[in-house]
Subunit: 328 residues, 2 copies
């Protein structure tokens, strides 16, 4: 059977056709060009998908069986609507799933991007050898989370689980973009960190030089580069970032004891020496020795492949792992 995976990102659209092993046989990627009218945008997306499927069919792919879509949240699962993602202007209460089901005549599953990434890492990436559980943190502009527990995506009572970026790590703490106080995202999220760095980076830091000397151009990547060369300010900031992150992760271990915690984006860019090795130590210091000994915190493994795999993983999820409706 063939699956179609679609990843609607803030800036890019990616699609892939693949089989149950999740290996994309045909793929496409392009910048997202929104018209301000979601109906029109979805027509363009559907045309793209149709072309990719035609290409796959010509190459001998079996008929399409299911579509999986990764979208920026928030989703209203009960109503099947993508509500109003801040980075998709003009998209408000969009029935992505039913539009695609009507266009292609196959079941279409839709998940928010953090859940989709968690599924992708679970099926094809850093969690592919695990059997029980994985927690994925996006560590991107914001901090999103996806939880695989007991081998299945845990969505929560109303699809709202995994808001790991908005668990408090400082009390009362600074105000987060979400309106709450002390959220993990307000300390380690890419946008919050960027804004802070633009405020606090000293003139003599290498971070500023790497941003071309303009504070308003500083991004977390510049800090990571400067930390790698031993810049004192960058190392202090990195340490602060790791400390807040370790608070959030320790609580996750106490609560869920996942087999593996997978971190994406900024953490992957920072790498083993700057991020993962010191992070494991800091989390361990907040745990009991037997928990620390079993701790597994690793970088996301899919990298550039994630957008192609995310949609395919969503298409696959229901297949292998849907809760048994008759179990209760």
């Amino acid at each position: 059977m063939s699956l179609l995976g679609i990843d609607v990102g803030g800036t890019k659209l990616a699609m892939a056709v693949g089989g149950r092993d999740g290996a994309p046989t045909h793929r496409m990627r392009r910048a997202i060009a929104l018209t301000g009218d979601w109906r029109r945008d979805l027509e363009v997306l559907t045309d793209d998908a149709r072309r990719l499927l035609e290409e796959a069919t010509k190459a001998g792919a079996s008929p399409l069986e299911r579509i999986g879509v990764s979208v920026p949240g928030p989703l209203d699962r009960e109503a099947g609507l993508l509500l109003n993602p801040p980075n998709l202007p003009g998209w408000s209460e969009v029935p992505v799933g039913s539009v695609l089901e009507a266009a292609f005549g196959v079941e279409t599953r839709v998940e928010n991007d953090a859940n989709a990434a968690a599924l992708a890492e679970w099926h094809f990436g850093a969690g592919r050898l695990q059997r029980d559980s994985l927690v994925y943190l996006t560590m991107s502009t914001g901090v999103g989370g996806g939880l695989i527990l007991g081998g299945r995506l845990h969505r929560g009572a109303h699809g709202g689980a995994g808001e790991l970026g908005h668990a408090a790590v400082e009390l009362p703490g600074i105000v987060c973009a979400c309106g709450l106080q002390g959220c993990l995202e307000a300390y380690v999220g890419g946008n919050a960190w960027r804004d802070r760095l633009r405020r606090v980076t000293p003139d003599e830091s290498d971070v500023l030089a790497r941003a071309g000397g303009a504070k308003e151009s500083i991004r977390p990547e510049h800090l990571v580069e400067a930390a790698r060369t031993g810049d004192a300010f960058a190392l202090r900031e990195m340490s602060r970032w790791l400390d807040y992150l370790s608070r959030g992760l320790a609580t996750l271990v106490m609560t869920l004891e996942p087999e593996v915690i997978v971190l994406g984006t900024i953490a992957v860019a920072a790498g083993e020496e700057l991020c993962f090795a010191p992070l494991r130590e800091r989390v361990a210091a907040r745990l009991w020795p037997h928990q620390a000994a079993r701790l597994s915190i690793v970088p996301a493994a899919l990298g550039e492949d994630l957008p192609y795999r995310a949609g395919l993983a969503v298409a696959l999820e229901g297949e292998a792992s849907e809760p048994d409706a008759g179990a209760r």
Copy 2:
């Protein structure tokens, strides 16, 4: 089929025979009298169980099919051992399950008391109408947790999930009995709270009067009684307790979005007006409005029945809810 449920508590032993509906048809309860030799203690327990089963059989019960046991943690699930519960002197690395399997010739499942209580509330109590998820907090001498997620007990990668009492709610925070800092249990656990109250209760407070005027006799129950009569100190302390508890619960909602959070013991004793109504407000203040609107925090429903139901729920759990081993 008949099930035998056994609850080994710190001070009491309870047993019940029942069917799949979890209603105990025969029960016994007695003070635990430990000999310092767990083999001897288990022989006495086995004799008790045999007598209860004979009684049930005479009354027409069907043959015994499975045993469920609730024990104080910690457990080593892989080795099938109860390690060294602080309140069961002489019990160290006890193979409870295999001893009972040898004695009765039926499968025996063993869970720690927080998991067993979560299962009992899920099957028979406050969560019996839910389909997806329940988080149970013991709120007793310590704070333990049990998680039902996707309709199944979530034990974690090595049986260590649900340590909700040791997620940090204050940073760095006071040192917990467990050795870590800022743990929820160090602020709201019965023993920690008792010790604090003995230190900080002012002479003029009604709390002291209710403890017979002796600070070393103060227990959280005295505080709850005094708060009910409007004692200013007791109300302030109750407020502090609710505040710390609300921090822990808000993180749980962000992380797991359970259908229901069930609180036991002290919370049940404090009741709706003193505990649940103000607690819901405080948790809501740490959440987004749509999360707060869906929040369900309720008292444990089983009360005095819990010890009889806990073992029966453990016996039942595997039956209805064991993960499908073939799913992956």
